[in-house]
Amino acid sequence: MAQGTQRKFSPEAQKEVDKILFSYGVKESAVLPVLHVAQREFGCLDRAAVELVASTLGLSPTRVAQTASFYTMFSPAPLGKHVIQVCTNVSCSLLGSEGIVRYLEKRLGVERGHTRPDGLVTLSTVECLGSCGTAPVMAVNDRYFENLTTEKVESILRELGL
């Protein structure tokens, strides 16, 4: 059980969670779906979030934490407001993704794999995003930006207010 934590889902998120619980006959299968809701709701899966998910599902927090730590989309610590992920796998690297990453590092003043101290942006490299026909590609939060050039990256950053 959650040990005295105040963490709760918002009413909308709770509705979503209830729908998930209702839909899955085997509660273990609801682990990933509910973790997704929690990640979105709290911005990361810290201990309190994991405990909330565990108690929601009637599973041990260790069991849930073990699962969560396996998947790259679940983050134990808060990320920046804008999470920029540049694909550096084969098709993207053939078309210059390294240059895109370096441009972003310089322009944003943050190295790959890090969050800027002001919390506005996290820059990382990722494996193939399944968009190799429009390489190079990056994802900003949930959205894909394709056929990147440094000019295009610049205008995306401006649009994001960065």
Partner: protein, 428 residues
């Protein structure tokens, strides 16, 4: 261009909506299956069509279905593999985002054939748009009585879940996918037992790729003979080829299996970018051995590519021009596999890190000829000695680039660095 089957609706406004799909003949195959065919007749049709799995291994789909025991009481499951993570592969995403109902119809017919009443689509976590469209499609289909308790008024019922992954390449491996669906870490299971007998929740389970299941409606609608007349002998039907890298027009092309690589690259994908020469191709994703420009007349099908020492894999055609450094390509991909190793097997977990260090040494001018042979030795110590096929896949980039481009490795060693460095402008 050949008649389009899998991509026929792509590009039509609102192609993802039920009304569009139905207005173009959608769900008639499901109706035909439910009204005119017995489940076993659907399986027979899929067998007769010659359909082979489009997820990577090319296993005959009808045969896979027939492994599910018929006499075991209790639930059985179908899992659609929509984890699409093999580098270079972006074909399933086109279906998920543009024609989710074609996939749902394929799933419904397959579940009818297999007496499955609950199916899961395991879609990779990053495909937010695909998941959203699929979810809406499921809701539309349920509303219209095409899914749910009584499909088209029959006593066949089906519940379809859209289940999002969360960023893990190994979850595309079928048993890791099952573990993940059970809310666990995606650690591949030891086989046997195979999922057909012990799968999801320990129950008989069929796992098929998105494109595989999307072939089923047209097989039922037009007949297995029609499907088998497309392609080459033993390699039937249409195939989605995802072409990326150094071509003028990258993209997903639907062509019959057996089209030549040359045709695909030069007639459809517009040839090599900037008028450069073709150097090498990974014809079926990053886990398939590279072939060279001299082999461009190979037919793009399972058997022909196997005959030249490669594989069709997922149909992801990664094209490299003559300015590409093969050591750099091998290094990047070996790093990818090292990163994605689930860590259960020592050779995969430790061996790949060792290979990365050796490849880095060669690429950045600190390597020796002995390192090239050592790479091959480590690779053979991983291949075939791991729990899941990722171990075999992971060593292929290094192994196959050394086999075909050993001179390039040697010139790195000789000159103490990368001869392509200025072209690629890379730094350590």
């Amino acid at each position: 261009m050949a008649e389009k089957i899998l991509l026929k609706n792509v590009g039509i406004p609102g192609s993802e909506r039920l009304e569009t799909y139905r207005s173009r003949g959608g769900y008639r195959a499901l109706e035909k299956a439910l009204r005119e065919l017995k489940p076993s007749e659907v399986t027979d049709a899929v067998k007769k069509s010659g359909l082979r799995g489009r997820g990577g291994a090319g296993f005959p789909t009808g045969l896979k279905w027939s492994f599910v025991p018929k006499d075991v009481p209790g639930p059985r499951y179908l899992c659609c593999n929509a984890d699409e993570g093999e580098p270079g592969t972006f074909k399933d995403r086109v279906i998920l985002e543009n024609d989710p109902h074609m996939l749902l119809e394929g799933i419904a017919i397959s579940c009818f054939a297999l007496s499955v009443v609950e199916a899961f689509i395991y879609i990779r976590g990053e495909f937010a748009l695909g998941a959203e469209r699929l979810e809406r499609a499921v809701a539309e289909a349920e509303e219209a009585g095409l899914l749910g308790p009584n499909v088209l008024g029959s006593d066949f019922g089906l519940k379809v879940h859209v289940h999002r992954g969360a960023g893990s390449y190994i979850c595309g491996e079928e048993t890791a996918l099952l573990e993940s669906l059970e809310g666990k870490r995606g650690l591949p299971r030891l086989k046997p037992p195979f999922p057909a007998s012990v799968g999801l929740y320990g129950r008989p389970t069929v796992i098929n790729n998105v494109e595989t299941l999307s072939c089923v409606p047209s097989i039922v609608q037009n007949g297995p003979e029609w499907f088998a007349s497309i392609g080459t002998k033993g390699n039937t039907g249409p195939k989605l080829f995802a072409v990326s890298g150094h071509v003028e027009r990258p993209g997903v092309y639907e062509l019959p299996l057996g089209v030549t690589l040359r045709e695909l690259l030069f007639e459809y994908a517009g040839g090599i970018r900037g008028g450069r020469g073709l150097k090498a191709v990974m014809p079926g994703g990053s886990s398939t051995p590279v072939i060279t420009a001299e082999q461009a007349d190979v037919k793009m099908d399972f058997d022909s590519l196997a005959a030249v020492g490669s594989a069709l894999g997922s149909g992801a055609v990664i094209v490299m021009d003559d300015a590409t450094c093969m050591v750099e390509v091998a290094l990047g991909l070996t790093k990818f596999y090292r990163h994605e190793s689930c860590g259960q097997c020592t050779p995969c977990r430790e061996g790949l890190g060792w290979m990365v260090r050796l490849l880095e040494g060669i690429e950045f001018g600190r390597g020796s000829t002995a390192d090239i042979d050592l790479l091959l030795e480590i690779a053979s110590g991983i291949s075939g000695k791991t729990l899941c096929p990722m171990g075999d896949a992971a060593v292929i980039p290094a192994q196959s680039t050394i086999a075909r481009f050993r001179d390039e490795y040697e010139s790195h060693v000789r000159t103490g660095g990368c001869p392509f460095k200025s072209a690629a402008g890379k730094v350590e």
